[in-house]
C-alpha cells in the first residue's frame, strides 16, 4: 500500500548556495520492513478475499431469517410484497432482502465507529502532531494493534501510521454499503459475507479509535488495577454545578476537564456522564463520575440534576434538546454528526456564548471546537446552576394520583412498551396514591418513553416511574473499574495455554447496550456466575456499567470482588464501545503469543485457530444498535459465537448450527488430513437467549471447542451440566455429542453419563488437531 504520498512543488527557492527553480518532489510511503514476520495471504483484504472462509462458516452456521414484515420498501419500485416465494421488482427474494438489511445495519455500525476514529485521528493530529508514538501498554505489550496487524498486515507505531488502515476501513464500508443498492448484490450468502467483511473493518476502526485515545490522552494502559470510579444515579454532589456529558466521542469532555484543571475548578464543578463518553471520561480523569448506561438519559435529564448538557455523538436521544428545555438546562452539541438544528457558533467568542446560554437567549449552541466547548460548558454551568436551582419536571404524588384517576385504561401505553410493563395496572393503583407498581416498573424500564408518546392523555408516564423510583435511585452509588484498555502480553502468556487446552473453561465477553428485557440485574448475575467458576469475564460499554449496579451483602460490586486481570476468575472492564477490539485482540494474541502463529495479514489462518481452539463467547444481553450488529459481525468472522438477549431476535437473522446434522461437524485433522467428527463445537455462531437462565447455560455450552484436551473438556462439561441442572432442572439431552472418549466425562458424573452414552449408542471419537482449512494439513493420511 503506497497510497499516502507527499507532493511538493516549489517554483523558486532562494538558498545560500543558489536559486532552485521548478523543484517538484514526490515521496511515496516509506515502507518500514523491520517487522520480520512474513506477510500472510490477505493484507488489506478486498470484499471478496475472505469470501471462501465466510462460506465455510455459513455452510455450518446457516442463516435463519426472521423478517420484521413481508415487504421491502427501500426503493421506489416498491413497496414490494416478498411473502411466500415472491420476489421484488428488482428480483430480490426475502432471504436476500433480510441479509441485505443485516449488511445495512453492519455498514451503519462500522461507519459510525470508523467515522469516530477518523474524527479522533484528525483532532489528535491537529492538536498534537503526527509523530506521537502509539502505546497501549509500554513494555507489557509488543503488538499494540493486533486486529490491524492481522487484517491489514501493518504495525502502526505513530499517529500518522494509522491513517493507512483507516483509509482501508473507510473504503470497505463504502464498498459494502454500495452492495446494498438496488440491483447490486443478489445472493444472500454474499450479503452475509459482506456483513462479516464490514464487521472486520469495524474492528479495525474501533481498534484505531481506542489505540490513539489511550496513547495520546494517557488513558489506563493495559492496567488490571485501573482505578475504581463512582457510578450511579446518586453519585453527583448536586449541590455543585453539574455538567452531564452524553455520547461516545470524548474530545469535548476532555475539553471540559482540561479547562477545569487549568483554572483550578476541579472539585468545584461536577462532571458526570452517560454511555461510553462516561467510560472514556473516567479513563481520562477518574474523578469524573458515571451516571449509568444509555437508558438513563431521559431519567437523568428530567430529574433536573444536570445544569448543563454536552452531547457528542452516538446513542444520544434525538429529543435531548427538547427534554433539556423542559428543565431549563442548556445544551452544547459538539459533534458535526449530531447538530440538533442548533446554530453553529464555533467561531463566536466563548464569552458571548456563555452569556447567551446563561440568559436563556438560546436553548443550546453548536460548538465544533472541543476546547471551546469545554470552556463554554464550565463557565456557563457555574452561572446557570444558581438560576436553575435544580429545576425538575418530575411529577409530584398528587399529580400522579390525579392522572391515575383520569386514566381510561386504554392500554396504549403497555402496547407501546417494549417490555410489556403493566403500566395500566400501575395507573390503577396510583389512583389511590400507591406508587409501588410504578417503582417496580422503573427497575425494568429501558427509558424509551414510548409509553407517554402513545398516551392519548399525554400523561408523562416515564416521569411517574422516575418519581416512584426517586428515593431508591438517588441513594444508588456503586464502584466500577475504569476501562483498562488492552490485555498485556504477559497475561496472554500466562493463560493462553490453559484457554486453548480448555483448562480455563472460557472467556466470556459481555458487551453492548442496555436494551434489557428485565432490568440491569441480569448482567451482574451472569458476570458473577462465570467469575465464580473461574472463567475470564471481559466487559465493555453499557454492559460494563450495568454489571456494577448490584452489591453483595457486604456492599461490594463485582469489580471490588474480582481481580481486574486477564486471568481465571478475572472481571475486566476494557472500556467503551471502541474498546471491544481488545477482546478480539486477546484471542488473536493467544494465537500469536501462545501458538506462535503469524499474524501479519494472515486472517483466515488465525480465525481458523480461534474458532477451533479459543473458547470465547460474546453476550450482548441488551444489544439494540447497528453498532452492536457490526461488533458482532467482527466476532462472527473470527469464528467467535455471539449470543443476544431476547430483543436481539429483532436483528432479523440468526446463524445457527444443527447439532442433529452430523455431516456439518467435521474438521480436518491437521496431523493426518483425515476428516474427523468433532460434535457441535461451538453449536451456534449467532443466537438469541430468551431468558437470563438460558444465556448462562448457552455460554457454558458454546465455550466448547474441538481442540479441548480431555481435562479441559471434562471441566467445560462439568460447568455445562451443572448449570443445565441448576437452571433447567434436568440433565442436558446432548451430552453424548460432546464426549469424545471416556476421559472427557466429569469424574463425579460418570455413572449418570455412562447410562446416557449407552442409550445414545455412543462411540468413541478421536481428538483432532482441528482446522477447517485443507491447506493447513501437514501430512496426508
Amino acid at each position: 500500500m503506497t497510497k499516502k504520498t507527499t507532493h511538493m512543488k516549489i517554483e523558486e527557492l532562494k538558498t545560500d548556495i543558489g536559486i532552485i527553480k521548478n523543484l517538484e518532489i514526490s515521496i511515496g510511503k516509506i515502507v518500514d520492513d523491520s517487522w520480520v514476520e512474513p506477510e500472510g495471504r490477505t493484507p488489506f483484504p478486498s470484499t471478496v478475499d475472505l469470501r471462501e472462509w465466510d462460506f465455510k462458516l455459513l455452510q455450518r452456521y446457516k442463516p435463519f431469517y426472521l423478517p420484521f414484515c413481508d415487504v421491502c420498501c427501500l426503493c421506489t419500485f416498491g413497496k414490494c410484497d416478498l411473502s411466500g416465494d415472491k420476489k421484488g421488482a428488482c428480483g430480490l427474494n426475502m432471504a436476500a432482502q433480510q441479509s441485505r438489511i443485516v449488511l445495512l445495519a453492519c455498514c451503519i455500525g462500522a461507519a459510525t465507529h470508523t467515522a469516530h476514529a477518523r474524527h479522533l485521528v484528525d483532532h489528535l493530529i491537529e492538536k498534537y502532531g503526527r509523530n506521537i508514538p502509539l502505546d497501549q501498554g509500554g513494555l507489557t505489550i509488543d503488538i499494540d494493534a493486533p486486529v490491524t496487524c492481522l487484517v491489514c498486515g501493518i504495525k502502526p507505531k505513530t499517529l500518522k501510521d494509522v491513517e493507512e488502515a483507516l483509509d482501508w476501513a473507510e473504503e470497505q464500508v463504502t464498498h459494502c454499503l454500495s452492495a446494498t443498492h438496488t440491483g447490486q448484490e443478489g445472493g444472500n450468502l454474499d450479503f452475509e459475507s459482506k456483513a462479516f467483511h464490514v464487521g472486520m473493518a469495524d474492528q479495525v476502526g474501533m481498534e484505531i479509535a481506542d489505540l490513539i485515545q489511550i496513547s495520546v490522552l494517557d488513558f489506563p494502559k493495559a492496567d488490571p488495577e485501573a482505578p475504581l470510579v463512582e457510578l450511579g444515579f446518586g453519585v453527583a454532589d448536586v449541590k455543585k454545578p453539574t455538567i452531564l456529558v452524553i455520547g461516545h466521542n470524548v474530545p469535548s469532555s476532555v475539553g471540559i476537564i482540561d479547562y477545569m484543571t487549568k483554572n483550578k475548578l476541579i472539585g468545584k464543578v461536577e462532571v458526570v456522564g452517560i454511555c461510553c463518553t462516561a467510560h472514556d471520561l473516567t479513563r481520562y480523569n477518574p474523578s469524573a463520575k458515571v451516571i449509568g448506561p444509555i437508558s438513563w438519559q431521559l431519567k437523568y435529564i428530567r430529574s433536573g440534576l444536570a445544569d448543563l448538557i454536552v452531547v457528542d455523538e452516538q446513542c444520544i436521544r434525538a429529543d435531548t434538546l427538547e427534554e433539556a428545555q423542559k428543565v431549563k438546562t442548556p445544551v452544547i452539541a459538539s459533534s458535526p454528526k449530531n447538530c440538533l438544528n442548533l446554530k453553529n457558533r464555533t467561531n463566536d467568542s466563548a464569552k458571548e456564548l456563555v452569556a447567551d446560554l446563561v440568559a436563556g437567549k438560546v436553548p443550546g449552541v453548536l460548538i465544533l471546537d472541543p476546547d471551546k466547548a469545554g470552556e463554554v460548558a464550565v463557565e456557563a454551568v457555574m452561572a446557570v446552576a444558581p438560576r436553575r436551582n435544580k429545576f425538575s419536571i418530575i411529577a409530584d404524588i398528587e399529580e400522579i394520583t390525579a392522572a391515575g384517576q383520569a386514566c381510561t385504561g386504554c392500554n396504549e401505553c403497555i402496547r407501546a412498551c417494549p417490555n410489556n410493563q403493566p403500566i395500566p395496572e400501575a395507573m390503577k393503583v396510583a389512583a389511590e396514591g400507591n406508587l409501588k407498581l410504578f417503582a417496580e416498573i422503573f427497575d425494568n424500564c429501558v427509558g424509551c418513553a414510548r409509553c407517554e408518546s402513545a398516551c392519548p392523555k399525554d400523561f408523562p408516564l416515564h416521569s411517574f416511574m422516575v418519581k416512584a423510583g426517586e428515593d431508591k435511585s438517588l441513594s444508588e452509588k456503586f464502584l466500577m473499574r475504569s476501562g483498562r484498555g488492552a490485555i498485556q502480553d504477559v497475561e496472554i502468556r500466562n493463560v493462553g495455554g490453559p484457554i486453548v487446552l480448555g483448562e480455563i473453561p472460557g472467556v466470556v465477553a459481555i458487551v453492548g447496550c442496555a436494551n434489557y428485557p428485565d432490568g440491569n440485574k441480569a448482567v451482574a448475575e451472569i458476570v458473577e456466575e462465570f467469575a465464580k467458576r473461574r472463567f475470564i469475564v471481559v466487559l465493555s460499554g453499557c454492559a460494563a456499567m450495568s454489571a456494577a449496579m448490584v452489591k453483595d451483602e457486604e456492599g461490594k460490586t463485582i469489580y471490588e470482588k474480582y481481580p481486574g486481570g486477564f486471568e481465571a476468575g478475572g472481571v475486566l472492564n476494557v472500556g467503551s464501545c471502541v474498546s471491544n477490539p481488545h477482546i478480539a485482540g486477546a484471542a488473536i494474541k493467544i494465537a500469536s503469543i501462545f501458538a506462535k502463529r503469524n499474524l501479519r495479514g494472515n486472517y483466515e489462518e488465525i480465525a481458523d485457530y480461534i474458532h477451533n481452539r479459543v473458547g470465547a463467547v460474546g453476550l450482548a444481553w441488551g444489544a439494540m444498535s447497528q453498532k452492536a450488529a457490526s461488533i458482532a459481525a467482527g466476532f462472527w468472522r473470527l469464528g467467535v459465537p455471539v449470543i443476544v438477549g431476547p430483543h436481539g431476535s429483532k436483528y432479523r437473522r440468526m446463524l445457527l448450527g444443527r447439532a442433529d446434522q452430523k455431516e456439518d461437524w467435521y474438521v480436518y485433522d491437521a496431523r493426518t488430513g483425515d476428516k474427523v467428527y468433532t460434535g457441535p463445537t461451538p453449536e451456534h455462531l449467532f443466537t438469541t437467549a430468551e431468558s437470563k437462565e438460558e444465556a448462562i447455560v448457552l455460554i457454558a455450552k458454546l465455550c466448547m471447542r474441538p481442540n479441548d484436551t480431555t481435562r479441559g473438556r471434562s471441566m467445560k462439561l462439568t460447568h455445562y451440566i451443572d448449570l443445565h441442572k441448576r437452571y433447567y432442572g434436568v440433565m442436558p439431552d446432548d451430552i453424548h455429542l460432546f464426549i469424545r472418549n471416556k476421559m472427557d466425562i466429569p469424574i463425579t458424573m460418570k455413572p449418570e453419563i455412562f447410562k446416557i452414552l449407552d442409550e445414545n449408542d455412543w462411540k468413541e471419537m478421536r481428538i483432532p488437531d482441528p482446522t477447517l482449512l485443507e491447506r493447513m494439513v501437514r501430512k496426508r493420511g
Binding site: F64, S83, P422, E425, A454, S649, T688, V697
Partner: protein, 187 residues
C-alpha cells in the same frame, strides 16, 4: 369478548399476509384435532402468573393431557414442567426449534416426519413475532397457531387481543372440546 385483530405491540405490523383471527375457541380446538402431526412450543413466560389467573403452563399441561402433542419447552421453561411432574417435554431454544420447524426435511423429535401444525405460547411477544415470521416465509408446509392472549400477526392463525378472563375461558373451551373427542391420550 374483546376482539381486536391488531398486533398487541402497536408497531409490529406484519404486511399483507396476516394471521387469521381465531374468533371462536372451538375453531382452534377443531384445528388441533385435525392436525396430523402437531407440536406445542412453550416459552418461559408461561411459567409466570398473569394477573388474576393461574400460570399458562397449567393450561399447556392440561392441553397435553387431552391431546397427543409433543411439547418443546424453550429456555428454562422445562424446569417448571419437571417441577410439576410433567416429563414428556423436550428442552430446546426458541431459535433452534424455529430453525428445525423451517426445515421440511426435519423428521421431528421422534424421527417420524415433519410437523404440520406448530402451536406457540409463552414466548416474549416480539421474539414469537419474528420466529413466526421466519416460519411464515421459509417453511414449506407448516401452519402456525399463536395461543397467547395477544394477536400475533405472523402466525397462520392467532387469538385476537384478549382480556385475561376471555383467554382463560377460551382455553377451557378448547380443552373441553378436545377432551370430549380426544385424538389420542397418553396418560
Amino acid at each position: 369478548m374483546s376482539v381486536k385483530a391488531e398486533p398487541w405491540q402497536t408497531a409490529e405490523i406484519a404486511g399483507p399476509k396476516k394471521a387469521l383471527v381465531i374468533m371462536k375457541p372451538e375453531v382452534a380446538a377443531a384445528m388441533m384435532k385435525r392436525a396430523k402431526r402437531p407440536i406445542l412450543v412453550v416459552g418461559n413466560l408461561a411459567t409466570k402468573a398473569d394477573s388474576d389467573t393461574g400460570k399458562m403452563i397449567d393450561y399447556t399441561i392440561r392441553l397435553s393431557k387431552v391431546i397427543d402433542i409433543p411439547v418443546v419447552a424453550t429456555a428454562h421453561t422445562v424446569r417448571e414442567f419437571v417441577k410439576q411432574g410433567f416429563r414428556q417435554v423436550t428442552q430446546m431454544s426458541a431459535m433452534d426449534i424455529g430453525n428445525r420447524l423451517k426445515d421440511p426435511t426435519w423428521n421431528g423429535l421422534d424421527g417420524k416426519g415433519p410437523y404440520d401444525v406448530a402451536l406457540f405460547m409463552g414466548l416474549p411477544y416480539y421474539t414469537e413475532f419474528v420466529i413466526l415470521s421466519g416460519l411464515k416465509h421459509f417453511s414449506k408446509n407448516l401452519k402456525t397457531i399463536s395461543l397467547d392472549r395477544y394477536y400475533n400477526p405472523h402466525a397462520t392463525w392467532s387469538f385476537p387481543n384478549l382480556k385475561v378472563e376471555d383467554w382463560n375461558q377460551s382455553f377451557e373451551i378448547i380443552i373441553n372440546n378436545i377432551g370430549g373427542n380426544k385424538r389420542n391420550v397418553n396418560f
